[in-house]
């Protein structure tokens, strides 16, 4: 008899989801889906609000990456009101953005993903978690907790609060950075860079080889979307979007033109929309043997689309990664490897930004006046490309808001990955806890 296996809730991810797997009479997988079970409706309830308030409202979309929503919104409102932040305002925003990637990557890698690798995917679920990891590696766990907290403290010093910040405002930043504050941030950033390099070595030794195995569950062949600067270097702040086809050819465009390339679609079973590459002209298909229109965002996508990384240590790691896995690399678990390379980039980039003396300029904000307009703000969030698109009326209040978040871009690929994992792991209808966890691992890789 056909039956359904439900994995609920998906755990050790930063959000709400369940996996539903349909088995046929023989116990083979007929279909598998990721269902996003929560919708708050930000695009709707921000309508009518004064646009300058949005950076402080939409941050609540995600408590894990509030900085990314905060900053994308500030950028979008800049566009609506046609203001350009002064250099210090721009640099302070980028500093916060890049810095915010660091605690998030530490959280995801060590607290959420690492237990599957360091303790093993089949390990008892009462142990397969950060507490089990802390028991086995107490010194490492303490160090991760300490350094992650340091990153959050640095963000709080810059932006008032680490979670749900308030300092990015239309036209720039709410306050300048003092010379002494910078000195302390530089000392702290040096500690973060040391730890990032250590973390990459640890990961290489204990985790990443397991991610490199060729025939791992969750296999899917897709295109990729990420952000690059005018020279093709990796960018986390705003830049040009680059959409790469599965064959590695790509096309660059300005974020304001996203609607010409990407299209949103809804399915009856999920509260998350699916986005696909409309400009490829092939529509959307989740046929596992011949997917169409499917691309991915997140760490692996960013490393695939960029030509190089402008900081030395991360570039060396990227070159080695590319020599081994090719471009674009497709294996889903390689997200973890890419994440650790990006961690090193973020730590290096924070150091570069802090060294820039323009950061200390007192002029951090260009005054704005409400007007009718449209603005598109975009940044790279841990989960992937984040786009906020607003329109305002002549009072400067929101008339329309469209948000495409990292998860939405990946919905199609996550469904394909979970289906592949389920198809290859479930035999004769058997789907015990360990198999369920291995299926979840294919989804976990897409988490921040």
């Amino acid at each position: 008899m056909p039956r359904t296996v439900t994995i609920e809730p998906v755990t050790r991810i930063e959000g709400h989801a369940r996996i539903r797997i349909r088995l046929d009479e023989s116990g083979a997988v007929d279909d598998a889906r990721v269902e996003i079970t929560s919708l708050r409706g930000f695009e709707q309830f921000v309508i009518g609000r004064p646009a300058e308030e949005l950076p402080r409202i939409v941050s609540r979309i995600c408590g894990v990456c509030p900085w990314m929503h905060h900053l994308a919104a500030a950028r979008a409102v800049d566009g609506c009101f046609a203001v350009e932040p002064p250099p210090a305002g721009r640099l302070l925003r980028e500093l916060c953005l890049v810095l915010a990637h660091i605690p998030d990557k530490l959280l995801h890698f060590f607290f959420l993903a690492a237990p599957d690798f360091v303790l093993g995917p089949d390990c008892d679920l009462r142990v397969r978690n950060i507490i089990g990891l802390a028991r086995q590696e107490p010194e490492l766990a303490a160090q991760v907790a300490r350094l992650r907290r340091l990153g959050q403290d640095m963000l709080a010093r810059l932006g008032g609060k680490a979670v749900h910040p308030v300092a990015a405002v239309v036209g720039g930043f709410s306050r300048p950075l003092g010379r002494d504050e910078r000195r302390q941030l530089q000392a702290d950033a040096a500690r973060l860079l040391d730890f990032a390099l250590f973390a990459l070595d640890f990961a290489r030794e204990r985790v990443l080889e397991q991610c490199a195995a060729a025939d791992q569950p969750g296999r899917v062949r897709t295109g990729f979307l990420g952000t690059v600067d005018e020279h093709g270097n990796l960018r986390l702040g705003s830049g040009r979007l680059r959409l790469m086809r599965p064959d590695g050819t790509s096309c660059d465009f300005a974020a304001t033109d996203y609607g010409l390339h990407l299209r949103e679609h809804s399915d009856p079973w999920s509260l998350a929309k699916t986005v696909y590459a409309d400009s490829w002209g092939e529509g959307l298909s989740l046929d596992p043997d011949a997917p169409r229109g499917v691309y991915r965002v997140n760490t692996l996508a960013r490393l695939n689309v960029c030509d190089r990384i402008a900081t030395p240590r991360a570039q060396a790691e990227l070159a080695a990664f590319r020599a081994r896995f090719g471009r674009p690399a497709q294996a889903t678990l390689l997200h973890h490897w890419a994440r650790m390379i990006e961690l090193v980039y973020a730590a290096e980039r924070v150091g570069e930004l802090l060294a820039d003396d323009r950061l200390l300029d007192r002029d951090v904000r260009t005054p704005a006046a409400p007007r009718a307009g449209r603005g598109v703000g975009h940044v790279e969030a841990p989960r992937g490309t984040l786009i906020h698109d607003y329109a305002t009326d002549e009072r400067g209040c929101i008339t329309r808001a469209n948000l495409i978040v990292g998860t939405t871009h990946n919905v199609a690929a996550m469904n394909l990955s979970v289906r592949d994992a389920a198809t290859r792991l479930i035999r004769d209808g058997a789907c015990d806890e360990a198999i369920q966890n291995r299926i979840e691992m294919a989804l976990r890789a897409y988490d921040p």
Binding site: E8, P9, T11, R12, I13, H16, T37, S38, L39, R40, G41, Q44, F45, V46, I47, P50, E52, E53, I57, R60, G63, V64, P66, L107, L112, R128, N129, I130, A134, A141, A145, R149, Q152, L158, G160, K161, A162, V163, H164, V166, A167, V169, V170, G171, S174, R175, G178, E264, H265, S266, P268, W269, L271, R362, P367, A368, P370, G396, N402, N437
Partner: protein, 302 residues
């Protein structure tokens, strides 16, 4: 035997859980004191029974439960009821749980209208997705929590203090001061302008001087929710937003339980001679406390 801890998140963003993780090494110490029986962010226990079916999910018995987020769907309601059944002491964590939080801004429309609006440009709203309730509720509109810890998010130390107090069989004192009462900005007792200015340019202050030298943001004419908002966000220090020279927006909820911060603030401003019409979108002054019927659908366009 260690006390058992369960945690769930409902109509929320994970910020409260991140704040807990922000305890750093303190988190590891805290986790070592308890046995976690259910915690979707950190651990792999699944529901027994489905969230959307029958009596809802079953959760293991716990001495202490943390629940963040408001309640906006049948599934979330079922999970909250299950948490209440299984937890001896239940803490409503964060402003979404205590007052609805930002997602309760949606209460100016029906949940069904919000859903239809979100999907309007790409087809019908998902028919097989979890059914929504008619509006966003705070936790105490569905079950009775034993303790409320507001904040968006609450301070990590405040979360730890609440957990430890429950483990030690005490209930922590809830602060009764407003944000203003914890704010060192200089007050002269009268507003500098007759209208409330939107936050389109920075406040006036000298960045080399500390907060005690900066004039109160509200007196500068910037709308600030400090007078009507529960304090404590800065611990023993100044309010966090004011530290970076940004006015308060009320994220700890009303300072007086059961009060309406919109009315209280507008009355206060009127007393200072500030024209109420200068406040654009007055109802968004309730942006953190739209549950408990404070925000309701309005007829016609906003």
């Amino acid at each position: 035997m260690k006390p058992r801890l369960a945690s769930e998140w409902l109509h929320s963003c994970a910020g409260c859980e991140i704040a807990l993780v922000d305890l750093g090494e303190g988190l590891l110490e805290l986790l070592a004191r308890v046995e976690i029986v259910h915690f979707p962010l950190l651990m792999d226990q699944k529901y027994a029974g489905r969230a959307g079916e029958g009596d809802g999910p079953e959760l293991p018995a716990a001495d202490l439960g943390l629940v963040s987020g408001g309640v906006a769907s049948e599934e979330q309601r079922a999970i909250l009821l299950a948490m209440r059944r299984s937890c001896r002491t239940l803490i409503a964590l964060g402003t979404c749980a205590t007052h609805g939080g930002i997602p309760a801004l949606a209460n100016e429309r029906s949940q069904a209208a919000v859903r239809a609006g979100v999907f309007a440009d790409c087809g019908p709203a998902p028919a097989e997705a979890p059914a929504c309730l008619e509006r966003v509720y705070a936790v105490d509109e569905v079950v009775r929590p034993d303790l409320c810890v507001p904040g968006c998010p609450p301070r990590p130390e405040a979360i730890a203090a609440a957990i430890l107090a429950v483990l030690d069989d005490e209930l922590p004192a809830t602060p009764a001061k407003s944000v203003c009462e914890t704010c060192p900005a200089r007050r002269e007792g009268r507003a500098a302008t007759r209208s409330a200015r939107r936050f389109l340019d920075n406040a006036e202050y000298d960045p080399d001087e500390d907060l005690t030298r900066m004039r109160c943001l509200l007196e500068q004419g910037l709308l600030c929710m400090g007078p009507v908002t529960a304090g404590g966000c800065g611990g023993s220090g100044p309010p966090l937003c004011v530290q970076v020279r940004v006015p308060c927006r009320g994220c700890y909820g009303p300072v007086r339980p059961g009060s309406n911060p919109l009315l209280d603030l507008m009355n206060g401003l009127a007393g200072q001679g500030v024209d109420r019409r200068s406040v654009v979108d007055r109802r968004s002054l309730l942006r953190f406390c739209g549950a408990h019927g404070l925000l309701r659908p309005v007829a016609g366009p906003r």
